[in-house]
Amino acid sequence: MIPGSHKRRFTLLDAVLIAAMIAAVILLARRIRDDLVYQWQWSVIPQYLVRRQASTGRLVAGVLVQGLLMTLRLAFWSAVGALLIGVGVGILRITKSRSARAIGRVYVELMRNTPPLVLVFIFFFFIGNQVTTALGIDSWVRNAPEGTRQTITLLFSPPARFAEFLSATMTLAVYEGAYMAEIIRAGIQSVEKGQTEAAYAVGLTRSDQYRFVILPQAVRTISPALAGQFISTIKDSAIVAVISVQELTFRGLELMSATFRTFEIWITVTVLYFILTGGLSAAARIVERRMRVRGH
């Protein structure tokens, strides 16, 4: 048999499963139509995706798409932070120094055994409120020149909500960082010992051994797990709605209390999340396949 050919065969089981699924969907749809006391009104949704600006007549992002973009920015910076933390802590976890390993261990255990919601509040009230004010980041952002403020809005968040954004990003980075650290530790440990030895023997410094030899190879083995972790970051980012970061879930909550179009809004929000995460995992699979084809 040709390897993989069985994947394309359409079996009786497939037919039964698909038929069962279609039947379930039809049944559910009819129940909702006949028994649910709910007036569907999908027509309200498009304006929250894209709308025409009254003053200029240009098409701009509606609140949900704005929320989606904020989610993306939030997840991106959180993932960058988590990756940095992950590399640092992942290396700490396997160094020779006992105390360094202990520090890494405590961090990972602490993060993995704390509800992320609690972390969100800790970071918001301690870091978001106190530290950003103390460091003057908040007022610096607010008083920055217009051009800088626009750049900040584009890359991060509107200056007025920068403190929330910063603490949300830090929370997520610190939280996801613990999981990143475990992935990266496993990745580093998957690189053969002979690689480090060869890098040592040609005289590379410890950091160059990591930078050029160990981490690039570790990344190849863990890239699917890293992509998965990034997708988790996107999903987990919904939690920072509680500190009013205007990401997708927060926008959904806002819209729901303003319009009461509960089902339409949450279905749309779900679809938007899915487009983002599904698109990313598809992209990750393609990249992974490319890398495999290149054979290293």
């Binding site: 053969e192 002979g194 690689q195 030895e197 060869a198 890098a199 040592y200 023997a201 040609v202 005289g203 590379l204 410094t205 160059d208 050029f212 030899v213 690039p216 190879q217 190849r220 054979g295 290293h296």
Partner: protein, 252 residues
């Protein structure tokens, strides 16, 4: 620079009473003392588990010794990290399993340390790389990845990678043991040429023919100690120790 220790100026490596224990109470080597002269080729032979690899790996600090002293080109291989760094830059090593960097082309494998450690420019590093690849007979593989090479070719690249650092000593740990028989010759030929050019070499090997032909001195190890050493022909023709005789009778 490091403080150089005055030793016999002719001794590139000076080993005094070194001991290495592994966790679990394994005494891999016990109070070994020996010197390697400049331009000398020393072959280390002995049964499996006798501590040959451990000994070799101590010489560039891959393993830390528990007792004794090692001085390489006047620099003590002690706790001082600067000393260790300096020594591993000057000591090349070739491994049984090649250990090429699989995600880099042949050229990058050989250029990396030249650029990062020696601070050479791309052009300088390329020039050295091409000269070395010509020398080991695989110039045409410059842009190949290790996985696209045969074992013999990979090991020759590994030798070129070590030579690119312009080392004062080369260590070989069973460089041909992982190779198919038809590839052993091409790697031994490179090593032989290197020896003829006057490279100082410490070679752990099971290739007795090679040892006899190339080595200035044979060191026979068993159970973590040097049982016997001597000039190659003398060693093979007239071994003194019983253990040496027993070992040689088994493998020759």
């Amino acid at each position: 620079m490091s403080r150089r220790i005055p030793v016999e100026p002719d001794h590139i490596i000076s080993v005094r009473g070194i001991t290495k224990n592994y966790p679990g109470g394994i005494q891999a080597i016990r109070e070994i003392t020996m010197d390697v002269h400049r331009r000398e080729v020393v072959c280390v032979i002995g049964p499996s588990g006798s501590g040959k690899s451990t000994f070799l790996r101590c010489l560039n600090g891959l393993e830390q010794i528990d007792a004794g002293t090692i001085i390489v080109d006047g620099i003590p291989l002690d706790g001082n990290r600067r000393h260790r760094d300096e020594i591993r830059r000057e000591v090349g090593m070739v491994f049984q399993s090649f250990n090429l960097f699989p995600h880099m082309t042949v050229r990058r494998n050989i250029c990396l340390a030249q650029k990062r450690v020696r601070g050479k420019s791309d052009e300088e590093a390329f020039a050295v790389t091409h000269a070395l690849l010509r020398r080991v007979g695989i110039e045409e593989k410059t842009d190949a990845f290790p996985s696209q090479l045969s074992g013999g070719q990979q090991q020759r690249v590994a030798i070129a990678r070590a030579l690119a650092m312009n080392p004062k000593v080369m260590l070989f740990d069973e460089a041909t043991s992982a190779l198919d028989p038809e590839m052993i010759g091409e790697v031994l030929a490179v090593m032989r040429d290197l020896a003829l050019e006057g490279m100082t070499m410490v070679v752990v090997t099971h290739e007795m023919g090679f040892a006899r032909e190339v080595a200035d001195r044979i060191v026979f190890m068993d159970e973590g100690v040097i049982v016997e050493e001597g000039e190659a022909d003398e060693f093979f023709d007239a071994p003194r120790e019983e253990r040496t005789k027993a070992f040689l009778s088994k493998i020759l």
